[in-house]
């Protein structure tokens, strides 16, 4: 049984100079066989394992991760959480996640620092205004909080925005979802890992999947750098590397993997207490609890697995940031990095069975899956345990690319993060 984290455990451990904290999860060697194995120790994979153990009572399971947990896009994203998507299927999916976020720190006994500071999406031209108003109405019909703000209300909500009508892309208004916000990305991975580990899930790091063994159309196990692991159910949650793993099983996915970048500034005193996103000029910004501005850029136009991204993309974003927030003109940027995002043609995820029995994929989250972490884990666990999707992820099956029943969120959902 793990020690509960609380103010008292914090005080108690302060007396021993914080040297006696229990480790948060074990570091086991893989067993010969598991009832299910999750490939990819990002937030989605760890959450999947957590809900498989917690809600479906599957305890003899493992998560295999080629690097360290949370080292993929989970630890590289700009942590924006919102559920104001246009289509009913997406609204259901993302709001399911948002509702879990609202109680997640308590449930995991791990502070994921979920902060409902609001997310504002700006409109810069008449088409933006029409699209965003339409989305606001659609959201409200789905029971998702959303309001339209006129330019002066935008200014009131976030006073440092330049709302002058003389700039290249003037602010013509915006939408606001107040329940939206941010969370601490690493804590999400660590909290789910700790919770899953406590229920007996083996979290195996530095273990790369190299092959998928199948007999006919049924999976038999995984070839990994730590040997062969026998299992009847494999749930792949490998973000940018999903196609690489699909290819091991002889499957093709409708994905392209591209670098997406973000950067943070030097830390400063509180200056922006919400999240502001702009699709048209592709700039979005929030401020971390440490005081750094967290700025997200766009994806490169080409497939790449280099986890870097191009300089011109960062340059474009910073140009837009400076026009919208002249006050940042002398800030120094401290760090820049990239993650490889798996983009679906309709910018919606895949949480689905495949044509191979026992092989499940959760991928295609592209530039915007962090917000869905708890919901995605919950629904993927349901899909794996029952060999059937939950009604909330039924629309996100792989067959939609054959039937044509796409969930086209490109542009529909404001900026794609």
């Amino acid at each position: 049984m793990k020690n509960k984290y609380s103010i008292f455990s914090l005080i108690k451990n302060a007396f021993s100079n914080h040297e006696n904290w229990q480790r948060a999860w074990r570091d086991p060697e893989p067993k010969k066989e598991y009832d299910a194995v999750i490939v990819g120790g990002g937030g989605h994979g760890l959450a999947t394992a957590y809900y498989l153990a917690k809600k479906h009572n599957l305890r003899n399971i493992a998560v295999v991760e080629k690097g360290w947990i949370g080292g993929g896009n989970t630890g590289r994203n700009t942590t924006i959480i919102r559920s104001n998507y246009l289509w009913d299927a997406s609204a259901g999916l993302y709001d399911h996640a948002l509702k879990i976020w609202e109680g997640l720190s308590q449930e995991l006994n791990y502070n994921v620092m979920f902060s409902q500071r609001g997310v504002m999406n700006l409109a810069h031209n008449l088409q933006d205004v029409r699209d965003l108003k339409r989305r606001t109405h659609a959201n409200r019909l789905n029971g998702i909080d959303a309001v339209w703000l006129e330019t002066d209300e935008v200014k009131k909500f976030c006073p440092i925005i330049n709302t002058s009508q003389d700039i290249r892309y003037p602010v013509l208004g915006g939408t606001l979802q107040k329940r939206a916000g941010t969370a601490r990305h690493d804590a999400v991975a660590w909290g789910y890992a700790r919770g899953a580990d406590e229920m007996g899930v083996d979290i195996i790091q530095n273990c790369e999947v190299k092959g998928i063994k199948r007999s006919g159309d049924t999976v038999e196990g995984l070839e990994t750098t730590k040997g062969f692991i026998k299992t009847k159910k494999i749930g792949v949650v490998a973000a940018g590397h999903s196609s690489v793993i699909a290819n091991m099983a002889g499957l093709k996915l409708p994905l392209e993997s591209k670098p997406l970048q973000a950067l943070v500034s030097e830390p400063v005193k509180p200056i922006i207490d919400t999240v502001v996103m702009s699709n048209a000029v592709h700039a979005y910004v929030s401020q971390s609890d440490k005081g750094e501005l967290v700025i997200g850029a766009g994806t490169d136009s080409y497939v790449s697995y280099t986890q870097k991204g191009s300089f011109n993309i960062v340059e474009e974003t910073l140009k837009a940031i400076l026009e919208l927030y002249p006050i940042f003109s002398r800030m120094k940027m401290l760090r820049q990095w990239g993650g490889i995002v798996d983009i679906c043609p309709d910018a919606s995820p895949i949480i689905s069975k495949t044509s191979i029995k026992g092989l499940y994929f959760n991928c295609g989250w592209g530039t915007g899956g962090f917000k869905a972490t708890p919901g995605s884990g919950d629904l993927f666990a349901h899909t794996i345990a029952n060999d059937e999707p939950h009604k909330l992820n039924a629309a996100f099956n792989i067959n939609r690319f054959v039937s044509g029943d796409l969930v086209d969120e490109h542009g529909a959902a404001a900026v794609a993060h």
């Binding site: 093709k252 409708p254 994905l255 993997s257 697995y305």
Partner: protein
């Protein structure tokens, strides 16, 4: 962040170009004959290779011509550039 040697203009920064994705996906000759699976394969399914991938590029801020590139997507190194209509090189 790399340079591309346009077969028509010479070496330029990648930002002058746009990627047209996977190359050698032939347009169906008889579209009416295709079933839904074949359409899905043509329209959406991609190899998305980590390693050497054949792709189309357009010099959009230059000569605006299309050509093919064999590029290693794990390090962005370009192995070979060849014109539209040519067969992919053996690498």
């Amino acid at each position: 962040m790399f340079l591309i040697n346009c077969p028509y203009c010479g070496e330029r920064d990648q930002s002058e170009f746009v990627s047209g994705g996977e190359a050698h996906i032939a347009r169906p000759k008889q579209p009416t004959e295709l079933n839904d699976d074949q359409w899905a394969e043509y329209l959406f399914m991609r190899k998305n290779i980590k390693g050497i991938q054949f792709e189309r590029w357009n010099h959009v801020h230059g000569c605006r011509k299309w050509f093919n590139v064999a590029r290693d997507t794990s390090n962005d190194k370009i192995e070979k550039i060849y014109k539209m209509g040519e067969q992919p090189p053996k690498l």
